[in-house]
Structure formats: C-alpha cells, structure tokens
Amino acid sequence: MSGVVVALVPAPRAAPPAPVRRTARGLGERLAPYAYIAPFFVLFGIFGLFPFAFTFYVALFDWNPIGDQVFIGVDNFTRMFADPRFWNAARNTVSIWFLSTVPQLSLALVLAHVLNHARLRFALFFRMSVLVPYVTSVAATAIVFAQLFDRDYGMLNWLLGLVGVAPVDFVQSTAGSHVLIATMVTWRWFGYTTLLYLASLQAVPLAVYEAAAIDGAGPWQRFRHITIPSLRPVIIFTVVTSTIGGLQIFTEPLLIATGAPLTCGAVRQCQTLTLFLYEQGFGEFEFGYGSAVGVALFAMVVVIAAVNYLLAGRIRADR
C-alpha cells in the first residue's frame, strides 16, 4: 500500500557524500551501519516477505491446518473463478469502495478549501475535530454506527420516521448495508484526507488567491480554478490509497451483522473480499483456498498500482 506513496512523492534525493572518514574506524564501526538497519530486514523478512511468498505456495494446496495438506495445483484458482461467493464479494467491495470514496474525497476537497482560509478563527479546533474519527478505532466506530443505524432502535430510523419514511434495514438489505459501511469508512477518513489536501493547499502562495480575488474571482471560481488544479496529484494519491484501503475493508462488515458475522449477513450482502478471505481461512479452515483469495487481492493491488504509476507519470509530464 505504501508503495503508491513512492510513486507519487519525488524520488529520494541522492544521499549526501559520506562525511565520516574511513581510516580511523575499527571493524565495529564499519559494521555499525548494518547493525542499525538489520532489525528491519530481519523482521520484514520473517513476518512480511516470507509469508507473502508462502501465500503463493499454500494456494496450490488443499491445506487443512488440523488435517492433511494435499497438492492440487491451480484447482483453488479455477474454483475461485467459478465461485459466485467470490464474485459477490468482489462486487460488494467495489460498491462499498465507490460509495465511500466519492463522498469522502468531495467532502475533503470542500473542507480543505475553507480550512485554508487565512483568517479562519478556531482553525486548530476544526483541524483537530476532523481528525478525531481517525483516532477512533474501527471496532468502536462499527458498534456506534450499527446502533445509530439500527432498524428497530436506531436514531437515524427514528428521524426518518418523523418525516414519514418507513424504517430502513441497514444490515439485512444489500444497498442499506453498503451505505452503512461506506458511511463508517467515510466518517473515519474524510478528516484525514482533508488535512492531506490542506497540507498541499498551504503550499499554494496566498498571493495567488489574493490576486484572483482582486481580479473579481468569487469563492466558487477560486475553488474551481486554483484549489482543484493545485490538488490534482494529492487527489490521485488519495484515490489510490482509498482504493487499496477499500480492498482491505474487514472490521466494519464483520461487526455489523452480529447474526452471521463472517458472511456479513444471511445472503453475504455486505461480505467484502478480505472478509471472504477470512471466512475461508479461519471460519472454514481452508487455508489453501483462502490463500488463493489473497493472491487474487494481490493481483488487484498490482493493477491499481500500475494504473496509478501511469497516471502519476502523465501528471508529471503535464507540469
């Protein structure tokens, strides 16, 4: 995921020439730099790279963790491509991603624009407020929102009832559950995205806005012609991170349908791909099949990263 960061930020500058002279150093001093960076390589090798590579291996087996492991070649993959549950999870994931990304980014754009106001009072309070959801855990968020959106006891349905709308079942219906999950994701991330946009906007010299205002540009025109263009790289960055984050949505669907958590409801109406992976791996204990789903998710990340790389390249060329 953080890989996409790399594609967008400027390449690291070449390190400055080594200031430390070689001569007077003993063996210990010469090895010291390796000792400083070794912990990362050891930890990443054991807990990151090896399991990642091992996923591809396990995916070729019918792997029962308390029974036998049988090599079956690509059977897990053929099964997956024919599995309606996989495609259902893929559809749900895309739908939830769309429903959460679009409002999240639009809201963040507008808020960043107004937060960038030079004379805004209480700016720190507003900036901190929008970051509060980020420090709230996904689990707590899911519990609270499930309660607010409950069919029978939720405040939202009570409010809808006041204006004559029949109660909406935000868990058992497909559309409702997607809206509920997308709302949680949006709530959690829009403030953080706002601050990312704001960071970028603050680099735009105030004089640009001033000049535009003097030339008679209203707030909308300033937003349209200054804010949005200067944010284009970071917008693409956030689209990509929210897409890859969207592929990994897990906790929200797990926690909202308490009757059937691993499928997120009776008809898998809100089961995401990562939840499907978990269900197969740690609900059904089909480690091989679950790993195949992991490989599929990886393939999607690669595709998204590639698209991102192309887009980022085009943007750099445009400049």
């Binding site: 953080s2 890989g3 790399v6 930020v9 690291p12 400055p16 080594a18 200031p19 002279r21 010469r30 010291a32 730099p33 400083y36 960076i37 912990p39 990362f40 930890l43 990443f44 990642f52 091992f54 996923t55 507008v110 808020l111 107004v114 106001h117 004379r119 009072r121 720190l124 507003f126 407020s129 929008v130 970051l131 709230t136 855990s137 996904v138 689990a139 707590a140 968020t141 519990i143 309660q147 029978d152 006891y153 405040m155 009570w158 709530w187 403030g191 990312l196 970028s200 603050q202 680099a203 209203g218 707030p219 960055f237 897990f250 308490t258 992976l277 978990y278 791996g281 992991g294 998710l297």
Partner: protein
C-alpha cells in the same frame, strides 16, 4: 451569492457559512463519540427508547460492572497500552536509527539496501495473514502479545520518513565535527542526531501508537484467550455475549476509545502538524 461583495483584502473575509460548514463537520465528527457515552451511561430501556435519550445517564458503573464480569477489560486495556506503546516507541527508535544510517553513514550497498526498503512498501503483506498465522504457530506465538509487537516494529515507511527528515535537518558538518572529536557513530546518533529529530520520531511513534491501538484484523486472528485480548478484541467479545445488555458493547467501545481521546487532546496538535507537514507542498 446573496452577501454583498466584500471589499477584499488578502484572502477575503471569512463568511458565516464557512463557520456553519465547519461546525457541521465538527458535529458530525464528534457526535458519534458523544452518543457512545450516552448509551454507555444509560440502561437498555433508555437506550432503545424512542425518541432517543440524548443526555448521559447514571448507569455507567452498573454497565462497567457488567463489562468487567464479561471480559477482563482492564487487562485488555493494559494489553493494548503495552502493545501500542511498545510498537510506537520501538518504531520511533528503530526507524530513527536506520534512517540515520541511510542518511548520514556511508557503507557498501547503502543505496541498494535503501531501494530495497522502499520496494518492500509495495508488498501488500496484509493479504498474507494465513501464512503469517502459520509462522506464529510454528514460533509458538499464537495467543501472545509478542505476536503483535514484534512484527509491528518493522516500518519501511518510518525508515523512509526518518531518513528524509534527518537528511533535511542535520548538517553533515555537525556529524563530521562530532566524528573528528572522536565520537563513535552510535554516539553521533544518540548525542547529536537523535535529539534534533526527536520531535519527528515522536510524531512517528504517535501514529504507530494509534494504529497499533486500533488494529483489529491481526489481533483478532492471533489472540484467543480473554487474558490476551486487546481492547478492540474485547469489544468484539462483548458484542458476542448476546445474552446480556445492549449497552455493553457500547460501554466497551467507550472504554477503549477514551484513552485515545485523552491522548489526542494532549498531543493531537502534533499529529495534525505531522500530516500538514507532508509531501504535497509543491
């Protein structure tokens, strides 16, 4: 636009609707936390009553007792604190050291190794939870807290970030002078470099702390007995105990969230600054 065109100076006057919009956003961000507190302090009947109760009640201690009866929640909070603090502090120190090595020390293979660090960020290791679980079981670490802490210490992005920071803030002359005075590289790092980049390392550690505190999927997979639960998994356990009280999971959520809110009030400014200090300036 109905408002009379203001006589603009600078960026113009802040209009009322700007505040209205921001206030609405603040309410949206803060209300769910407030509501959590309301339900966590009321009994089930009040929590499910329509129209809903909107003020905190006096039932908190009763629910707290139920929470503690159901899962060892104090234990869970301590576990979370331990895991998050260890990861936050560990990441800050390890990334600062490694970032320093990449920024200020010269050694064969440095650039290649740094490239490797950057490339590791492209590996979505989260999708490999099944083999990761298998490794933990080989190590005998299933259902232990080190299964969370040890893998969490490695942060490629943290190294990248600290390297950039150290490159930008510490003059080579400073390092050189210290070396000429006979300091070892460790002394240069610890006495010269680290004090300068400590604010950055601590912001890094803060984000590591928050992320670790709120993590769910991985702890959910490896933690099996209640004495090992982190606060997030304890919330899930409360949700499972379906035969008790509607406000129970909410009380747990409140307990698990309150420490972070307190932390955020104390140091949230630095986190905001950390994000605003980001890459997308020009």
């Amino acid at each position: 636009m109905t408002a009379a065109a203001p006589r603009v100076r600078g960026h113009g006057r802040v209009r009322w609707w700007t505040y209205a919009l921001l206030a609405a956003a603040a309410v949206v961000c803060l209300f769910p936390l407030y509501w959590m507190f309301v339900v966590a302090t009321n009994d089930t009947a009040t929590a499910t009553r329509m129209p809903p109760a909107v003020v905190p009640g006096g039932n908190f201690l009763h629910l707290l007792g139920l929470v503690l009866d159901t899962v060892p929640f104090v234990r869970a909070l301590l576990n979370s604190l331990f895991v998050a603090a260890a990861i936050g502090a560990g990441q800050a120190v390890l990334c600062a050291v490694a970032g320093f090595a990449f920024a200020k020390l010269s050694f064969p293979g440095r650039n290649t190794l740094f490239l490797v660090v950057v490339l590791t960020m492209t590996v979505p290791t989260q999708l490999a939870v099944i083999p990761q679980y298998m490794i933990m079981s080989w190590l005998g670490w299933v259902d232990t807290l080190q299964a969370l802490v040890v893998p969490g210490l490695a942060s490629a992005f943290g190294i990248f970030w600290m390297r950039q920071h150290i490159t930008a803030t510490i003059d080579d002359e400073l390092v050189q002078a210290a070396t000429i005075d006979g300091a070892s590289t460790w002394q240069v790092f610890w006495r010269v470099a680290f004090p300068i980049v400590r604010p950055a390392a601590l912001v890094l550690g803060l984000f590591g702390f928050v992320t670790a505190w709120n993590d769910f999927l991985w702890p959910f997979i490896v933690l099996k007995t209640p004495e090992r639960y982190t606060a997030q998994i304890a919330i899930k356990a409360l949700q499972n105990s379906y035969d008790v009280d509607l406000g129970l999971a909410m009380s747990g959520s409140f307990l698990a969230t309150a420490p972070l809110v307190v932390l955020f009030v104390l140091v949230g400014r630095r986190m905001v600054a950390g994000i605003l200090d980001g890459a997308f300036k020009g």
